[in-house]
């Protein structure tokens, strides 16, 4: 096993983890505010299609990513309106959002299936990128990869060291108390859900431009759900989202490189690995009910309306 092979595994892991990081960090913010949005998969698909369509027609990846974030945010706004203003059941509405996103993206995406897409170019930092080993390991990714790490850092700081972060956590733990203290519960929850929508859109955009530059119906293939599982796995802490995502990225990449290790297992069985890993990891984390009780935002999934 040579160095370049190991480097390929490492970079593959990071790239596979990137969409999961975006989606899971956004969902983490929504859940910390007490809103469980099961529509991540649907928002990701709409984001993936939007980014692909916009970047192919305008030639600008930047516009594609921006449009993806906006499109998914619109879906998130719909979800927020239903669950926060109209007080619908969060689980049912989230499922509806996923089914709707699947249908909408499949419907609008027909024209774009099979077209060649635009891949994200990797950065090239003179000097740094050319370093042996370290260069390819750290300095040759695309901007979205660095963006995901930055997003983590910003979020960690926001949640733990700012007033806004404190408000968000307070709303998620006890909306009634936050409301009694005069804090804008609904506004906070709206913003948190919209943020989750935007990052889900970015995650989708990375799928259809970074990971595989093309549009295929249902191309997220469960990554939105894996992101939801990651938030539980991370016990609602950003750092553990990052670590969890790399772990999953690693599993995905090992499955692709299995032949290189001389493992001769049919590809269908290897493709099951990420899904099996999700279940195993959930079991390990949830095994002790105290882990969940202590970390899960207390109002997660429960409606709250100040007027009624």
């Amino acid at each position: 096993m040579n160095t370049s092979f190991l480097i390929a595994i490492f970079t593959g892991t990071v790239i596979a983890a990137t969409p999961l990081i975006y989606a899971a960090l956004g969902e983490l913010v929504a859940e910390r505010a007490g809103v469980l949005n099961l529509g991540v998969e649907g928002m990701m698909l709409v984001g993936a299609l939007t980014a692909f369509a916009v970047s192919v027609t305008t030639g600008s990846l930047m516009l594609g990513f921006l449009a993806a974030a906006c499109a998914s945010m619109l879906l998130a706004l719909l979800f927020a309106f239903l669950t926060l203003t109209l007080q619908t059941n969060q689980v049912a509405t989230g499922l509806a959002l996923t089914l709707f996103g699947l249908g909408l993206s499949a419907f609008l995406g027909r024209a774009f299936a099979g077209l060649p897409g635009q891949g994200i170019p990797d950065v090239h930092l003179p000097g740094l990128s050319d370093l042996p080993v370290i260069g390819p390991l750290l300095f040759r990714f695309d901007l979205a990869v660095y963006g995901s790490v930055l997003l983590y850092a910003a979020l960690h700081y926001f949640l733990n060291h700012t007033r806004g972060g404190l408000l968000l956590r307070a709303v998620g733990e006890s909306p009634a108390v936050a409301h009694a203290l005069g804090q804008p519960v609904l506004k906070t929850r709206y913003l948190a859900v919209l943020f989750g929508g935007a990052t889900s859109g970015l995650a989708g955009a990375y799928l259809s431009t970074g990971l595989t530059p093309m549009w295929v119906e249902g191309m997220s293939s469960g990554r939105g759900w894996i992101a939801l599982a990651l938030v539980v796995f991370a016990t609602w802490k950003p750092l553990r989202v990052l670590l969890g995502a790399y772990l999953f990225g690693g599993v995905t990449v090992l499955q692709l490189h299995a032949q290189g290790f001389g493992i001769n297992v049919p590809s269908e069985l290897l493709s099951m690995l990420p899904y099996v890993a999700t279940i195993v990891v959930l079991v390990l984390i949830c095994r002790d009910p105290r882990t969940i009780l202590l970390n899960q935002p207390a109002s997660l999934g429960k409606s709250f309306h100040p007027d009624v």
Binding site: L82, F100, G103, Y275, C286
Partner: protein, 361 residues
């Protein structure tokens, strides 16, 4: 907050009429949306709606197709509804359906020919058990390790589909099938009898109606059904009364898994006639919508599954006649559920005009 001229106010009593009116309002809103979507696509909207909702069912064959597609939806949704009422969220019916098809299909391929007349019932039973076994995994993990049944049942959908593809690319593939990933076709004796000539619906329709009757008795006449309703509507009361949450979870998942498994094997032994890599166009997911649109009530679910089946047929019809993508079905399904959830608000709340801002407080 902005001062809306209208304010939401809790009704003193939930309005029972709205519970039944809400799906009708949602259907009307969906039709209006469909009208606008077709108009935006440059079609004559009325003609398109006719093609979507009327043309598919204007013949015996069409009605048969309606029943054919409503059957798996009904079988899945009836089971799911029992769980949803008790706050047990099995959303992996698609996977349980696939595993039912896989287990039942396996029995039909390898074992049933030697069983003679018992072959068909054995295959059906294997399908039900396969679906149950697949649903038992989230039930066990939820009751033993407190793991979310939503995520586990969903992950198992992908695993089941990959398992089916694996078998059909390998040892289960028809040796004379030109390398297509599909099994041998089942013999006549292993095919479900048709309801009537000139159409394709089989006696599986009767299974689904039977299950609807059983599920009605269960949820409105049996104590076990009552326990589950209490668990869903008032978890604290259920805990205080000593109703076992564990038993509810097992029951909900096994029943819905069995229903989905039966749906899968009936598809395979009915219209499909062999095992192939894709067995369902998302019946297991659409059944979630069916369960809600049917108000989680057996009679409602029977009606809702007919409506949802019509949405599938309509999608195919406009695809053929107007070259619109069939995915328009998914769009209709999603919007229908959204409208329903929104209309549900008016069961418990009403809108009140606020004359002077703030006076209502």
């Amino acid at each position: 907050m902005i001062n809306w001229p209208l304010r939401l106010e809790k009704r003193p009593e939930p309005l029972a009429v709205m519970r039944i009116a809400a799906p009708l309002i949602a259907i009307a809103a969906m039709l209006i949306t469909g009208y606008l979507v077709f108009a935006a696509l440059g079609q004559d909207p009325l003609q398109a709606l006719m093609l979507f909702f009327i043309t598919p069912v204007d013949s015996i064959y069409g009605v048969g197709e309606l029943l054919l597609k409503a059957t798996p939806l009904m079988l899945c949704a009836l089971g799911l509804a029992i769980g949803f009422r008790a706050n047990v969220w099995n959303i992996g019916a698609e996977g349980q359906l696939t595993l039912g098809a896989l287990c039942g299909g396996g029995v039909a391929l390898f074992w049933a020919p030697s069983l003679g007349g018992l072959g068909l019932p054995a295959a059906l039973l294997a399908g039900v058990l396969g679906g149950m076994a697949w649903a038992a995994i989230p039930a066990f993990l939820r009751t033993r390790f407190n793991t979310s049944e939503i995520l586990v049942s969903l992950m198992l959908v992908y695993i089941a589909q990959l398992a089916l593809v694996y078998l059909l690319h390998g040892s289960w593939r028809d040796p004379d099938g030109f390398n297509f990933p599909q099994s041998k076709a089942f013999t006549e004796a292993l095919t479900l009898p048709l309801l009537a000539d000139g159409q394709r619906a089989s006696i599986a329709v009767l299974f689904s109606l039977g299950l609807a009757a059983v599920s009605w008795v269960f949820s409105s006449r049996l104590f076990a059904g009552y326990r589950m309703r209490v668990a869903g509507q008032a978890p604290a009361a259920a805990a205080y009364a000593g109703f076992s949450e564990r038993r509810n979870i097992w029951l909900a998942l096994l029943v819905s898994g069995g229903g989905a498994g039966l749906a899968g094997i009936c598809e395979v032994l009915g219209p499909i006639g062999r095992l192939q890599t894709s067995i369902s166009p998302g019946y297991g997911f659409a059944a979630i919508i069916v369960a809600f649109v049917g108000r989680l009530h057996p009679v409602g679910i029977v009606l809702a599954s007919l409506l949802m089946s019509l949405l599938y047929l309509g999608g195919e019809s406009v695809q053929l006649a107007l070259q619109l993508p069939a995915a328009v079905t998914g769009l209709f399904q999603g919007t229908l559920l959204f409208y329903l959830l929104a209309a549900d608000l008016f069961v418990g709340y009403r809108l009140r005009r606020v004359l002077s801002p703030g006076a209502a407080r």
